[in-house]
Symmetry: C2
Subunit: 422 residues, 2 copies
C-alpha cells in the first residue's frame, strides 16, 4: 500500500469555510490515497508506515486552473505585448510547431518534468489543435503520476492560416476521436476546450457543447480578458446578449458539466450572475493579466457572491508554473485595485491567496486541496530552512515567508493522491 502512510510535520491548510489551520507537528494519516484523519502523534500500533518530517511545512498541493502547456517553450518572453499582438507574435508560431511530434516530444517532456517539480498537483491544460501531440502530453503526465485535465484546442476561424482547423465538421470528428483515444488514461482526463469564442464558429461551439454533454466532460475557455477582444467578440456574435451567453447557449457554460473560464476581468453584472447561477469557475491569472495588460479582475466581488475562484499560472502569458508567484500577484493586484479603482473592495489577504491556490481551485478536480477527511492526499513537504531565520517566526509567519519567497528548491517531497511523485 504505497499510497497509505502516516506523515508528521507542521500541517498548514485551509478548510471548506476558508479558515486557516496551523497544526504544529501533527500526523496526517493517509489511506489508499485519501486523507483519513489527523492525529497528535504517530500510531505505532497501526500497520501504516511512518514518515517523520517534524519541523517541515506540510501543505496541500496546489491546483492550476489555467495554463497552456504548448506555450511553455517561450515562457518569460513577450512581456512587451498586449494580448492580441502577443498571440500573433508568440503564441501561434510556437503552437504550430506541435504538428511535428519530435518537437512535441521534447517540449512536453520538459513541460511535464518542470510541472512534476512544481508545487502544482492538479492542472487544467490547453495543448494545441494537434490530436497526436495532445495525446502525447497526456501520456507523459500519466507516466509521471501527474493528474488533471488536458484539452485539445479547438479553433476553426479567425486564427492564422497555418494554425486553424479546416472546418467545424472535421474538427469535431477529430475531437471525438481524441476523447475516445484519451480513455486509455486514468490520471489525466480530456476537457472540452474551445480556444475562445472569437476563434470558434457557431457550428463548432454547438458541436463541442454536444460532445461535452454526450461524454460528460468538463469545459474550459477564456472569457472577458481584454477590452479589444470583447469588442471584437460582440461584433462577431451579434445574436448573443453578451460574451458569456455565447458559451451558455452552446452548452459550454457550467451546469450540468463543470466549466472553468480564464480571466473574467470585464464581466458585466448580468454575466456575473451567470457565473454564479451556472456554478462556473473563474481561473484568476493575476500575473498574466498584468503582463499582457488586460487589467485586474474583481475577485473580491466574485468571492463575496459565492462564485468559485481558483488560480491560473497561465503559462506562458504568465512567466512561471510556480503558483506561489500567483498568490503574490493576486495580493498585489488586489491592493492596487483597492487603491486605484474601488477603495471599498477589501484587498485579498495571503490566506485568501493560499485558499484559492489550494481548496479554491482544487474543488474543480473533486475533493482536492485540503487535509479534511476524504480529501485526495495531494501533499507538499517544504523545507523552508528555519535554521536560517534570525527571528523566532511563528508557524503562520513561516507559511507567509515561504509563500512570499518560495523557490522550488524548498520542495522536498510531493504526493498526488498519496503517490509520491517527487
Amino acid at each position: 500500500m504505497n499510497n497509505s502512510f502516516q506523515l508528521k510535520g507542521n500541517l498548514c491548510f485551509v478548510d471548506e469555510e476558508k479558515k486557516l489551520h496551523l497544526l504544529e507537528n501533527k500526523v496526517l494519516v493517509v489511506k489508499e490515497g485519501k486523507i483519513d484523519k489527523i492525529l497528535d502523534d504517530f500510531d505505532f500500533h497501526s500497520p501504516l508506515p511512518v514518515i517523520d518530517r517534524s519541523g517541515r511545512l506540510i501543505l496541500p498541493g496546489m491546483s492550476d486552473l489555467h495554463a497552456h502547456a504548448s506555450q511553455y517553450p517561450y515562457h518569460g518572453i513577450g512581456s512587451d505585448c498586449e494580448l492580441l499582438e502577443w498571440l500573433g507574435r508568440h503564441a501561434f508560431p510556437t503552437e504550430s510547431k506541435y504538428q511535428d511530434l519530435s518537437f512535441a516530444e521534447r517540449a512536453y517532456e520538459k513541460f511535464s518534468e518542470d510541472l512534476r517539480k512544481s508545487y502544482t498537483t492538479r492542472i487544467s491544460l490547453f495543448a494545441t489543435l494537434h490530436k497526436d501531440a495532445t495525446l502525447l502530453l497526456m501520456k507523459k503526465m500519466e507516466e509521471k503520476g501527474l493528474r488533471g485535465y488536458v484539452g485539445l484546442v479547438n479553433m476553426d476561424q479567425n486564427c492564422v492560416e497555418y494554425l486553424q482547423e479546416k472546418d467545424a465538421e472535421s474538427a469535431l470528428e477529430k475531437t471525438e476521436q481524441f476523447i475516445q483515444q484519451a480513455a486509455e488514461f486514468t490520471l489525466v482526463k480530456p476537457i472540452i476546450t474551445p480556444r475562445f469564442a472569437l476563434s470558434c464558429s457557431e457550428a463548432e461551439l454547438k458541436g463541442l457543447g454536444e460532445l461535452s454533454i454526450q461524454y460528460s466532460l468538463p469545459v474550459q475557455s477564456h472569457l472577458d480578458e481584454n477590452p479589444s477582444e470583447i469588442l471584437e467578440t460582440a461584433r462577431l456574435f451579434p445574436g448573443y446578449k453578451n460574451y458569456s451567453d455565447i458559451y451558455y447557449r452552446n452548452h459550454l457554460f457550467g451546469n450540468p458539466n463543470k466549466t472553468v473560464m480564464a480571466h473574467c476581468i470585464y464581466n458585466n453584472e448580468e454575466e456575473v450572475e451567470m457565473l454564479k447561477d451556472n456554478g462556473v469557475y473563474v481561473a484568476h491569472c493575476p500575473e498574466c493579466n498584468l503582463n499582457v495588460m488586460s487589467g485586474i479582475a474583481p475577485i473580491r466581488k466574485y468571492l463575496d457572491r459565492g462564485i468559485h475562484v481558483g488560480l491560473g499560472s497561465d503559462v506562458s502569458g504568465g512567466s512561471n508554473l510556480d503558483l506561489t508567484l500567483q498568490i503574490r500577484a493576486l495580493m498585489q493586484v488586489s491592493k492596487a485595485y483597492s487603491r486605484l479603482v474601488d477603495s471599498k473592495a477589501r484587498p485579498l489577504s495571503l490566506v485568501d491567496g493560499f485558499a484559492l491556490a489550494t481548496i479554491g481551485g482544487g474543488s474543480f478536480f473533486g475533493k482536492v486541496g485540503s487535509f479534511l477527511e476524504g480529501y485526495e492526499a495531494d501533499i507538499l513537504v517544504i523545507d523552508d530552512h528555519p535554521e536560517s531565520f534570525l527571528l523566532p517566526f511563528s508557524l503562520g509567519e513561516r507559511l507567509e515567508h515561504f509563500l512570499m519567497r518560495a523557490d522550488e528548491t524548498t520542495l522536498v517531497a510531493k504526493f498526488i493522491s498519496g503517490r509520491r511523485v517527487l
Copy 2:
C-alpha cells in the same frame, strides 16, 4: 593587477541615451577596475589575462537605490499591512534589536552575504539609529568587497519609545561621530539619512542638512509614499509649502549634494518640478509600493521630464534583494497604471526596466551601470542555460527570459570595480 582583464561573452547593456546594446561574444577590456574598451576578440598581445565566458550573458551590475539592511530578518513577512501599521508591527520591533551587537553581527552577516550573492553591485542602505551596529554593517560590506552608501538612521520624534533618539542635539553629535568613524572605510561611504520628515524634528533636519554640506555627503530619505503619511506630515509641518519643501529648506534635497528619495508616488506638480530642478533621484520601489498598498508612482512622467530614476528593492517592504523582481514589478505596475489610471501614460518596457536597474540607478554612485569607456567595471556573468531552450532565442530574447525568470543560481561570477566578489 587583479582588477584588469579581458572578459569575453554576450555583452548586454544600456548606454547614456538609454539605448540597448546586444553584442554577441565580444571582449570587454577592464583596466584597473574600469571599462577600457570593447574588442571583437581577445588581444593576445596584451598582458591582460583573458577570461573566456563565450555564450554566457555579461551584464552591468545592478544598483539598488533604497533598502533597509536592518529589516532583512523579516523579509517576506507582513504582507497584509499598510505602511504605518507595518512600521509599528514589524519594522520598529526588529530595528530595536540592533542595540544588541551580537544580534547585529548575525543579522548583518546574513544580509551582506545574501547581498554578495545577488545581482546588486551598488546599494544605498538604511541601517538603524544604532551607531556601532551601523559601523559593523559597513565593515562587513567592506570586507566582502561590496560598495555603496550606508546611513545611520535619524529619528528623534513620533516613533516608538524604545526606538527613538533622545533629542536632536545628542542625535546630531552621534551622527557626526558616525561620519568621522566611517572615514576608515574606502568602498562603503556614509549617507545622511533622516528616516522621513514625520520622524525628525526641525532641529534635527536642520542639523542633518548642515552635516551634509559640511562633510559633502549625499542624502537619502522617503517622500510622498502613502496618503495617510502625507496628511500627517502636512499637519506636523504647517510652515512648509509641501512635503518636498521640508527637506529642501533644510538642505536635504539635492544640489549641491546628491539626494535620493524613495517612492515619490504622490508628488504634486510643484514637487515634481523641485525633483527636476534639484537633480534629486527617485528610488522607485514598485513591489514594496504594492505590498504596503501605497500606490503606483508615475515613473513614465518622471522619465519624460528628465528626472533621475533608479530602482529600490526596499527590503523589507519589498520581499527580496533580487532587483530583477523589481524590473518585473516595474513593468507590471506601469501597465496597470496605464490601464486603470492614465491610458496616455505609455507603459515602461523591459528595456526601460533594465536601464533603470543598471545605468539609471548606477549614476547615483558615479559612472556605474554601463560598459562605456571609463565606467566602473561592475559586471555580472550569467549562465542562463541556453541548452535548455526549445526555441532558437535571439540574444535579446535570452536577456528578456533571464530578466523575467531570474533566480540567483544563474549568477556565476560578479565583479565590483573589477574585483571579483563572487
